[in-house]
């Protein structure tokens, strides 16, 4: 589904990603881990098309499409979803209006009919229930005044409503908030499906207590220094990943 080849990217002329190779197949959940500054968030943002990152080499293919060629919104139309580490507050923008516009934009791009108000409300109520988001938050401004946990739930709600093919969850350094972490993990487990792939980016092994990834990658200094399966997760849980970095530096 997703094939990243020798991807290089820099911010303000400083190279952050120094050649990433990664292949993610439908149905798989991948965890990308690594210390602060290793490039995890950059990878997530480059994939989502955020401004301010210069891709200097390599390529990314999403289901046969050159991802880097697409605008941010076109990537969303192709089925890419980025759950933000710090979801932005949008005062004055109603959460339901936002969700509906978003869903209809994606549906239009997929050649599907827009959803009518009644069908939409039914869907959102159901999904909000699934992700345990207080229905009252649907009527408020997007994320404005939400707690950390509520913001995460709102992200997972968007993911549940948009049903992306590839979801990237950026949890780089929010691991300390257990409530938020569980919300993300529950969302990932709920959304796991044979035709959907997910990449969870995290700094803390703790997330792996709740999610069992199919593949795990350790990122250091802009490169993947080790990839493995469940056994690597077990090893990381026992030893941390400091030893991997030392091995890599040596």
């Amino acid at each position: 589904m997703l094939r990243i080849k020798a991807l290089r990217a820099s911010v303000d002329g400083k190279e952050i990603l120094k050649g990433i190779d990664l292949e993610v197949r439908a149905g798989e959940v991948h965890a990308v881990m690594g210390p602060n500054g290793s490039g995890k968030s950059t990878l997530a943002h480059v994939l989502a098309g955020r401004d301010g990152y210069q891709v200097t080499g390599g390529g990314v293919d999403l289901m046969g499409q050159d991802l880097l060629d697409l605008e941010t919104e076109e990537r969303a139309h192709q089925g890419l979803f980025l759950a933000m580490q710090y979801p932005v507050e949008l005062p004055g923008v109603n959460n339901l209006t936002f969700l509906r516009e978003s869903l209809n934009a994606v549906r239009r791009a997929r050649g599907e009919a827009e959803m009518d108000a009644v069908g939409f409300m039914k869907l959102v109520r159901q999904k909000a229930n699934d992700v345990k988001l207080d229905q009252k938050l649907l009527k408020r401004s997007v994320n404005a005044g939400f707690s950390g946990g509520e913001k995460k739930r709102n992200e997972i709600l968007q993911m549940a409503v948009l049903e992306p093919r590839l979801a990237i969850l950026d949890e780089t350094d929010s691991g300390l908030d257990i409530d938020a972490l569980r919300t993300v993990a529950d969302g990932v487990n709920m959304m796991r499906s044979p035709d959907r792939a997910m990449i969870v980016v995290t700094h803390y092994q703790r997330l792996l207590d709740y999610i069992e990834p199919d593949h795990l990658h350790v990122l250091a200094d802009g490169r993947i220094v080790r990839s493995g399966g469940k056994e690597l997760a077990v090893e990381l849980e026992e030893r941390g990943y400091g030893w991997l970095l030392e091995e890599h530096a040596a």
Partner: protein, 438 residues
Amino acid sequence: MTRQLQAVSDFQKATQHYIAGLPLDQGAWLTDHRWSAAMRFSDLGFPDKREEAWRYTSIEGLLEQGFITSDSDSEVVGAEFEQHFLHGPTAGRVVFVDGTFQPALSDTHIPGVRVSNLRTAMETSDLEILKSVGTLSGPGTHGFSALNMATMRDGALIRVGGGSRLDAPIDLISISTSSASGRTMRPRHLIVLERGAEAMLVERYLSLHEGAYFNNLVCEVLLEEGASLIHQRVQQESESAYHLADLHIELQADASYRGVNLAMGGAWSRTMISNCFAAPGASCELHGLYLAGEGQLVDFHLDVDHAVPGCDSRENFRGILHGNGRAVFDGRILVQEQAQKSSAHLSNANLMLSRRAEVDTKPQLEILADDVLCSHGTTVGQIDPQALFYLRSRGLSEERARRLLCLGFASEILEEFRSAGLREHLAGLIQKKIGSEP
């Protein structure tokens, strides 16, 4: 003499000439008022940039247009106007076309409310009605308002009787047709709420054409003890028009005024709001949203005078500027020495959608009392790139995302428009306006 000075001088001469030609046989009240205002106009002349209040707002363009021809009765056909009337429940409707009251289009039978028009009152020398006209504005605080009184011709006179409570708004609508092109209109409205009355008023100015004209209006609002008014004002003149609104508010004890202003039309528009607390316990809220795009100037001047103790005022204005649009916001609050236990809060936020747009914002708090609660804040900012990315990452086009963020910025003010139908209509107009320009 420069071309501009020539224009000012020509305009002034022609105006004096016009005033001199007005009939003097319409009764003592009218003659007195016209002449004291005419004298006032010749003393004041037109404001110029040396005056602080007019520093950022040039009137040269307006005078050069030479809107000397006055308004006259236009031919009026109903259907094209009706679509602009307020949808949903209304208590009544007062319609002006090109400055002239239209009884056939209006619905003035409102229980507990007396609705009349200035022209009829002047023609019949109805002093009972006329006696309150001009009591708040005086003969004029600047040349234009003096001119309004010197040449006044028509306007709405609405008096809500003591204790009356209207549960739906009165629709006061002024429509300009192509016959108004090149002319000056000078409506003069007076709204009085007697003791304990409660009402909602929607006051709108809109245009059916893109021509240039000058709307020089004065509106006086007097709330007697315990009265409460929700005043929703909309300026959507033609984008070639000049619009000058002078709004005077006086609040008696425990009266409550809640006003919201939307200004989005006109090549040049200026709204001056002065509020006077005449007795303790009153509250005044002024909200406003202004939009200026290519070739537009929009200007708001607020003057809130806490002359007595124990009153609350709150001003919250927001602006969205695009193209080479210009805005001026001048919010002045004076808390006099004796006005203890006052509370006054002023806030102005501006969203700049273009590098060529410009805003001059000037909050002024003059606090002479010591036991008061006052604050003010001003911001000028752009669309947050993070917010834009967030929306786009959810599939919204950049244009749609921008519009949604602009509407979000405006929503706090738009919510002050209480009728859902009007609010949605205005939100649609705003989106269209923002979407139509780079």
